[in-house]
Symmetry: C2
Subunit: 342 residues, 2 copies
DNA sequence: TTCTTCCTCCAAAACGTTTCGGATTCTTTC
DNA sequence: GAAAGAATCCGAAACGTTTTGGAGGAAGAA
């Protein structure tokens, strides 16, 4: 493997000159620069990033700490879409991505900052970690530039990108209310996700502003899982047949809810309206297709990468909040009971 | 950032001893080892991988060169599932993954081996590149350990993992033949994919062994794209209404074909049977659900990672061929014309 | 002519590790 | 008590870069 020394030797100059020639410094004559470049090509030279990073104290790599890259994430490929967005931006820069594979066991062994410092990443993007994750506190404490996805924590060195979950949920619930529903339930995720809290808040706001009573028994947690949501929905609807609409904090859970309702012989949307969140691919393919809140996950990744790179170039950490969009499909409908009453 | 020197200073020993203590060499007394470990903890030391890699001449990173991580890959998330498998295995080792973001422009700028040598990766996994990609020739020429996914090239340092595409396609077509179909078309991918060639070969074998005539006009390329396949299917079926079954080299194209048939007022499976390949998530959700050949993409990634790590530990490059499985759903049916004839 | 300035170039230090070859001390053996 | 051997430790080189501070010479200014 040819080094800068080899080039220096055959060019008859010092390694300093080679380095400076190759890096475009002005204090080397054009003649020798051309000679050096020529020789470098001939010797098939490529610089050793490790050595460079070591001395420059920056590695031109950004770490990607995702949790939720597992077998079960295929239906809801949030992670992948975000990753695609990140990759898309990074491809235009001279950074490379390093993927920290954090299964749960490894996570316990090495701390967040250990991971980052060992590999000397210049910055990190975090996605999919829960609010009780020990990494989270480390992130703010450590001084490594970092951008979070869907986690509203900000400091000097950490920014985040998210969507307006409160407004998104509000739009979903308002849609139900406009359809004449009054007995509205909510299938939330779990308490360890910021988005859950925010979507619950949006739910409350929409209900209160429309003067619709909130029944706390009708708010249950589906753990963002299709199966759990299905089970919980079975319980919920067998106890409370009066519910005519349900807002789910994810499409995946909405799928589970629809399954449960079908099992009980209830029709979606004739008996119960269901609205999801995410607009996953399946949402438009299942039957009935899902009314849902769309968020552009690709863009989230793209913005996150963009922000991080900007931060590495000296700009300040900031907050990016993306728009969501209500997409009305087949799973929601005018309240049938209401029609009867009128 | 604390270094080995800092530890040496407070422990009152040399850096050599610190290094050897931390790395478990036997020529340091248990007493000083404990002392050093204790101090390292207190100083919150984490080793600098860059420095280590530089001197040891291996980086404990493996490169991931995927093409096809783009916006349009979301339906058919082959790449993501493979990636998940790779990540799953890698998480159990002390390697990290570095994702080479190769959009087409960057690809032209830097050669394959340049990418690898700059980052000093120990090995590479390649996925999703076409047969005419310049990287491919470089791979075999370079002496970097490498495993390919779905590309049957082997040498001293390069192995591959794939599925038995010939057999898979054969099973699909045999299924159609068993259903009584004789006028069978094929929607292939494109000429720059190995799997296309192999699946075509499987198609031919099945037809020949069953003594069913092959009509070369009925074999068209859909570029692995839903839209292109739709267009091509429209052309094909408007010219040749006698076709009663079609084998598609991917589920995505099968979706396009089904769309085209619906547009033409033809029923799947009553008028035309369609079988796909891949068993993507959508296959079981669309209506009619797709009969298809399932391949375990997660396992492909897992096996690839496993093979590469083994190679890095001295074992030989090898070939892994995984099984496929015919999954019969709603898009295939007994040939109706045949029924009439009987 | 001499002094200053600019253009090229270079030696050496630094980054944080690992490892080779030896040096010291301690224990054992005769 | 001395020689031998084992157990511990260490100095220095090496990995491939970048960068600092200056050296040498040529050109311009006085």
């Amino acid at each position: 493997m040819t080094t800068i020394k080899d080039i220096a030797k055959v060019a008859g100059v010092s390694v300093t000159t080679v380095s400076r020639a190759l890096n475009g410094y002005p204090d080397v004559s054009e003649k020798t620069r051309q000679k050096i470049i020529e020789i470098a090509k001939q010797l098939n030279y490529s610089p050793n990033t490790l050595a460079r990073s070591l001395v420059m104290n920056k590695s031109k790599t950004i770490g990607l700490l995702v949790s939720g890259m597992n077998h079960s994430a295929i239906k809801d490929n949030f992670t992948f879409e975000v990753l695609t967005g990140i990759n898309d931006y990074i491809a235009k820069t001279d950074y490379d991505l390093i993927l920290f594979s954090t299964n749960s066991t490894k996570q316990r062994e090495k701390t967040y900052s250990q991971l980052c410092r060992e590999r000397r990443v210049d910055g990190v993007i975090l996605q999919g970690i829960k609010t009780d994750d020990p990494y989270l506190t480390e992130v703010v404490e450590s001084d490594i530039p970092c951008v979070l996805i869907d986690i509203p924590i900000q400091s000097d060195k950490v920014g985040y990108v998210t969507t307006d979950n409160v407004l998104g949920a509000k739009k979903a619930v308002q849609h139900l209310i406009e359809l004449g529903h009054e007995n509205i339930a909510m299938m939330n995720g779990h308490d360890y996700a910021f988005v859950s809290k925010q979507r619950l808040e949006g739910f409350r706001q929409a209900m209160e502003e429309a003067n619709v009573a909130i029944n706390d028994d009708w708010i249950v947690n589906g753990e963002f899982s299709e199966e759990v949501a299905e089970k919980k929905a079975l319980e919920l609807f067998s106890k409370h047949r009066e519910i005519t609409a349900i807002f789910c904090a994810s499409d995946l859970m909405a799928l589970g809810v629809v399954k449960a309702l079908k099992q009980m012989g209830l029709s979606v949307p004739d008996d119960v309206s269901v609205v999801g969140y995410d607009d996953i691919l399946l949402a438009s393919y299942v039957s009935p297709s899902l009314t849902t809140i769309a968020q552009n996950r690709f863009q989230m990744g793209y913005e996150a990468a963009s922000m991080l790179v900007e931060m590495l170039e000296g700009k300040e950490a900031k907050v990016v909040m993306l728009r969501t969009q209500l997409i009305v499909r087949e799973s929601t409908k005018k309240n049938q009971l209401l029609k009867g009453r009128m």
